[in-house]
Symmetry: C2
Subunit: 127 residues, 2 copies
């Protein structure tokens, strides 16, 4: 996995990973990976983050079943951000939406409206 | 701009902003904004980052002419990442590609191939 040597991890050893829907190009979420999480993601073909809050590896969907199967993994010109296209099962967002970006700010910045689609009941999935 | 109070900026006062092409949903780049950069972006309708390397505001395209006109600004469930859809003039990437994510890693992680489209000559644009 020589390409891992090209990537630039931040002072915490992390790189942000944008997760994009392979089917329709919607941006689903962003998470963080350390070098080992990138390696596991490539090796298993399943998106694996480093959870900053829980300080552990986090195979996306391990609790909910809403896994992300990798279709491609790209990196940017500065090699400090990843873009991963996935086949998303269910919803990416832990509050039940297909995408975590389900709120849009009004042009004057004073309010937000829901633009996302709720695809599951988090109470049923995570209980 | 009351929604700015909802956003969570990191210990450096920054929030990552994913920039997405309004026309075809391609992810073009990621940059960072402080609170004032988000305000300027909403007020002007033109993407304005905080440049971490130059420590100054950076209206995208101010040198190249490759501006990003805002069509929508969304934020995620944790309110710590922005997703901004834009109309991109020219190319987003300073090395001449339409998107900064122009290199894709092979499944075994050993090599990368160019998957992006070069749309301008950086030597001509930035000289």
């Amino acid at each position: 996995m020589q390409m891992l040597d090209e990537l630039k991890f931040d002072s915490n050893g992390l790189i942000p990973a944008i997760i994009q829907d392979y089917e329709n190009n919607d941006v689903l979420m962003m998470g963080y990976m350390n070098r080992e999480a990138v390696r596991r993601t490539l090796e298993s073909g399943r998106v694996t983050f480093w959870s900053r809050s829980r300080q552990k590896y986090w195979v996306k969907g391990e609790t909910s079943g809403h896994t992300q199967d990798v279709r491609s993994l790209a990196f940017d010109c500065d090699a400090d951000t990843l873009l991963i296209k996935v086949v998303q099962k269910g919803g990416a967002c832990h509050v039940g939406y297909r995408s975590c970006f389900f709120r849009e700010v009004s042009p004057n910045g004073n309010s937000a409206r829901i633009v996302g689609t709720k695809v599951f009941d988090p109470g049923a999935v995570y209980s």
